[in-house]
């Protein structure tokens, strides 16, 4: 491991020891939302959300447009605060710490909780500078270490072979699918604990999409992933758990095969079978 992760796991272990009450689910929960509500001004966008996400799992969030999927995952790294007039209520626990607390450092949170956006958004810099950006802002200056991080991240994002000979080229010269994988590499370079992805493949062609889906399966061994997607097949293909959002509520959250084959709620069934509205 190139950036020290020992510290986080140490904290994690300590927290586990403190948990005296018998926990209902597995002990490796990363995120727990408890009665989480969010308003954009008057608009009550998220209503009493209760969800939990686990280590080494891919969780999918599905639901019709405007139901609050992006709002929810942007709440997990508090990016949603960039919108003026946002109000929240309830708790979001990240490794047992309420991230909505005043004393939570958002810089620290966002280092642990990485994000990949819907549209590829590389910096107008070289491929190398894009991927080394995160380590650099966190104070890593040694060129050798940066080289290692860049190569490791690009390999993890399954794009090393395509770009290894032109690391100094501007990232804007790459195709959309390549750019998105550069963005994934950039996120992985800071070795986050969990990666949030908001429709990461919606701007991509099927081949790039498959590449990124394969990549997610690889990443699952080391990371946890929460992915928002409009693509039912994608959710069914890649995820372990699926949450169905509708009008700001979580209607159903369960194992992916249950959501797709045997949903408990009529609305979930209608949505996943495409009979919605």
């Amino acid at each position: 491991m190139i950036m020290t992760k020992e510290k986080t796991s140490a904290i994690h272990l300590a927290n586990k020891d403190l948990e005296s009450s018998p926990t209902v689910t597995q002990n490796n929960e990363i995120f727990i939302a408890k009665n989480f509500n969010l308003w954009y001004g008057e608009n009550h966008a998220l209503k009493d959300i209760n969800l939990s996400f686990h280590e080494n799992e891919i969780s999918a969030i599905i639901g019709p447009s405007g139901c609050g999927k992006s709002t929810f995952i942007k709440s997990l790294n508090r990016m949603v605060e960039m919108v003026p007039g946002v109000l929240t209520e309830g708790e979001i626990l990240y490794r047992d710490k309420n991230i909505l607390d005043k004393d939570m450092s958002v810089e620290e949170l966002r280092t642990k909780v990485g994000m990949v956006f819907q549209k590829p958004n590389p910096f107008p810099k070289s491929i190398y500078d894009n991927v080394s950006y995160g380590p650099r802002i966190h104070g890593i200056k040694d060129k050798k270490t940066l080289d290692l991080i860049v190569e490791k991240s690009l390999r993890q994002a399954a794009i090393w072979d395509e770009v290894k000979d032109r690391l100094n080229d501007n990232a804007y010269g790459l195709s959309g699918g390549q750019q998105q994988r550069i963005c994934i590499a950039r996120t992985l370079a800071v070795e986050p604990d969990i990666v949030l992805m908001d429709e990461p493949t919606s701007a991509l062609d099927p081949i790039s999409t498959i590449k990124i889906e394969d990549l997610m399966q690889e990443l699952k061994k080391e990371y946890s992933i929460i992915i928002v997607t409009h693509n039912m097949q994608q959710a069914a293909r890649v995820s372990d758990k699926t949450a169905f959002f509708y009008q700001g509520n979580v209607i159903e959250f369960n194992d992916t095969n249950i959501i797709f084959e045997n949903p408990h709620d009529k609305r979930t069934e209608d949505y996943v079978t495409g009979r919605f509205g």
Binding site: Y133, I137, H138, N170, Y172, R186, V190
Partner: protein, 291 residues
């Protein structure tokens, strides 16, 4: 068929003719400006180029045209710009960064923004009066390089602020989000992502503003910059001469030869301007990034 082919046929020619007419009209406007500019420049060049001798550059101002030169004025103007530029950049880019990146988006910020933009329209004489009252008298700086630099810096600040704000706004939200989303602080995002992307626009604003400052006469007259001085400044607290003042002074002289000196002075001023624009283009090309 709802679209009547005959009507379309009938209307086609008038449409195309109108288009051509407008094209000619716009071309005419461009040409008028161009022609007048060329006439002005060429008469200036014709009048002045023979006076651009070595003596012209090494002599101080004089009441005798054959002895008059721009040494004091050029060096004074360089001193003036050497202090005006950094002061203006510091004040203006700082203000723009604060307003765009840090300030809460509320009515007060909006109010400040609008007022700064309006300051761009205030006549330069008014800034001269402000400089006279505050810097020359209140601060006791006299008619020094520093007093004039502060005055000019304040005068051009609104232009740079507005241009910088516009440049900052062109940096896409998605790129900012990418940086913030990785745990970068606001300043890291500004310094490493936003500023490099906005630099070409900011530089353009700075150069435009400095170009205005370098030729500005009115505030210098109000502050009381001397027209005849036989020394160059050796500190920012010294008095100095400036090119536009020198030109202004020569224009008023009765002897015909001074008119040629005026032209020569204008050529020097234009050359300075062109050099600055060249630097701006180089910097802009170096930093130009595409999105």
């Amino acid at each position: 068929m709802l679209m009547d082919a005959e009507v379309i046929d009938k209307k086609r020619n008038p449409r195309i003719m109108k288009n051509n007419l407008m094209k000619m009209l716009f071309l005419f406007s461009t040409l008028i400006g161009l022609v007048i500019l060329i006439v002005l420049l060429s008469t200036t060049l014709l009048d002045g180029w023979r006076y651009l001798t070595l003596d012209f550059f090494t002599n101080f101002s004089s009441s005798r045209p054959s002895r008059a030169g721009v040494k004091g004025a050029i060096i004074g103007t360089l001193w003036l710009m050497a202090f005006t530029t950094p002061i203006a950049i510091f004040l203006s880019v700082g203000t723009a960064l604060y307003l765009e990146e840090y300030a809460p988006k509320n009515k007060f910020t909006k109010f400040v923004e609008t007022n700064i933009a309006n300051l761009a329209g205030v006549p330069s004489v008014v800034f001269g009066l402000l400089g006279l009252t505050i810097f020359v008298r209140q601060f006791g700086l006299g008619n020094s390089v520093l007093a004039a630099s502060l005055t000019l810096a304040l005068m051009i600040m609104p232009v740079i602020v507005v241009a910088s704000q516009e440049a900052l706004r062109t940096v896409p939200v998605a790129v900012r989000e990418a940086s913030i989303g990785m745990g970068a602080s606001k300043w890291q995002t500004v310094y490493r992502i936003i500023l490099p992307a906005a630099i070409p626009g900011i530089i353009t604003g700075i150069i435009l503003a400095i170009s205005r400052a370098i030729g500005e006469t009115a505030p210098l007259v109000v502050i009381g910059i001397p027209v005849a001085l036989l020394a160059t400044p050796s500190s920012p607290l010294d008095s100095f001469q400036a090119l536009p003042m020198q030109i202004y002074n020569w224009v008023k002289m009765p002897q015909a030869e001074f008119q040629n000196l005026t032209a020569a002075g204008i050529i020097v001023l234009l050359a300075l301007l062109m050099m600055m624009n060249l630097v701006a283009i180089v910097i802009r090309n170096k930093y130009s990034k595409r999105y």
